[in-house]
Symmetry: C3
Subunit: 180 residues, 3 copies
Amino acid sequence: MTKVHTARIGILTISDRASQGIYEDLSGPAIRDTFDDYLLSPWVEEYRCIPDEQPVIEENLIAMADEAGCDIIVTTGGTGPALRDITPEATEAVCEKMMPGFGELMRQESLKYVPTAILSRQTAGIRGSCLILNLPGKPKAIRQCLDAVFPAIPYCLDLIEAAFLENNPEVISVFRPKQK
Amino acid sequence: MTKVHTARIGILTISDRASQGIYEDLSGPAIRDTFDDYLLSPWVEEYRCIPDEQPVIEENLIAMADEAGCDIIVTTGGTGPALRDITPEATEAVCEKMMPGFGELMRQESLKYVPTAILSRQTAGIRGSCLILNLPGKPKAIRQCLDAVFPAIPYCLDLIEAAFLENNPEVISVFRPKQK
Amino acid sequence: MTKVHTARIGILTISDRASQGIYEDLSGPAIRDTFDDYLLSPWVEEYRCIPDEQPVIEENLIAMADEAGCDIIVTTGGTGPALRDITPEATEAVCEKMMPGFGELMRQESLKYVPTAILSRQTAGIRGSCLILNLPGKPKAIRQCLDAVFPAIPYCLDLIEAAFLENNPEVISVFRPKQK
């Protein structure tokens, strides 16, 4: 049964430099703007900006899902091959089930733009009634990836008994199969 | 060396409601009909219908592979993101090696029809001389997915020393590379 | 920071029969020839040919990465579903992070040629400053797979602080995004 409540969307920027104020976080706002474009239904935001430390990422994901009650948490950053890129491992550590199709489709979509798309280790998973989704760090790639996977997200939230999302059909299409 | 024996094909419907008789299992018969269409070589069926309980799924997969001697077990149901969907985890728990290419191709194929294909967590793996393959729950999607991956299945069974499958080339093509 | 040193490329042929001299290793030389074609920058080779034994594979991968100082190790063989095919498991056991995009793209590429491409369990991962990449066993498939993924490899090595690779742009294109 879908919960009739205002959706709470977590935006988690994972970046050593942005979290230290060395540069401005442009990725978190890019996610916010995208959801503003997509959604007609009301939503509130839970925003955090943290360093690339696995225990810190895990703590924040858990708090945002379990305490703040996020229906979806979208992370940005930390999905590459470099030593400090540890977002997918932290995501997997806090999820009960993994959703490999999200990462596959995002990489396939990004491959249309850059061959280095295969270096992205983005994944997604479920913790309780919360979908956790990794996005790339760059604002332009964020929109490309969300455009690719968002059509499946409202139905995914229905299935995990999270908030009902109503899309703006002039901006993005979503798909909900007929209920069984 | 390929075994010269009658193939045994396991069909495992995983559904709380079908296993309680709340509705009729249409997915198991859809798999049976598909293999009837595909195969010229004789085969016998090992059919079971069980609830979405991980220990029950694992027990049945093990018994069907090790005791009943199935060459391939095809599951249907339980691959989505919902709380009770636990088929991929049970599959992974009983397999010695995982075959990620099956899930990737099935999701890619299903994406031609519905954007929610990325919510499917279907996988495949090997237990001894048995290939275990997860299919979606809906009969129409079952056929779409099997049409996509079946061309590789007879050679896979050759490689794991399971039964030799002879396809009906008027219905489906299969590929066996020249032996090394 | 990219290391200014001569690249060291590990070539690891994993085959019971080739390692026993029952047949000649054609796959290792196919990898060598491909890198000779691709690279303008100097490189040295670390070549080994070993049986399909998981502990032996792991020992060699560790020694080639940590002691020999390989920037990239390319394996060939042992990625299928057969009992002795254990290369992906050995690779995962020695890597700190996995790179699922490589296997996905190689399978997608090979699917253009043979439907049995989904039987390949190839993966890639990072150990320290070394990229470990599984390739198929057949020389023709090796070139097809490397052509698909190589465009992302030099930038991957930059990100893990391995050697700088300079490609021959008349043979293969590579992509390095502008530095952030």
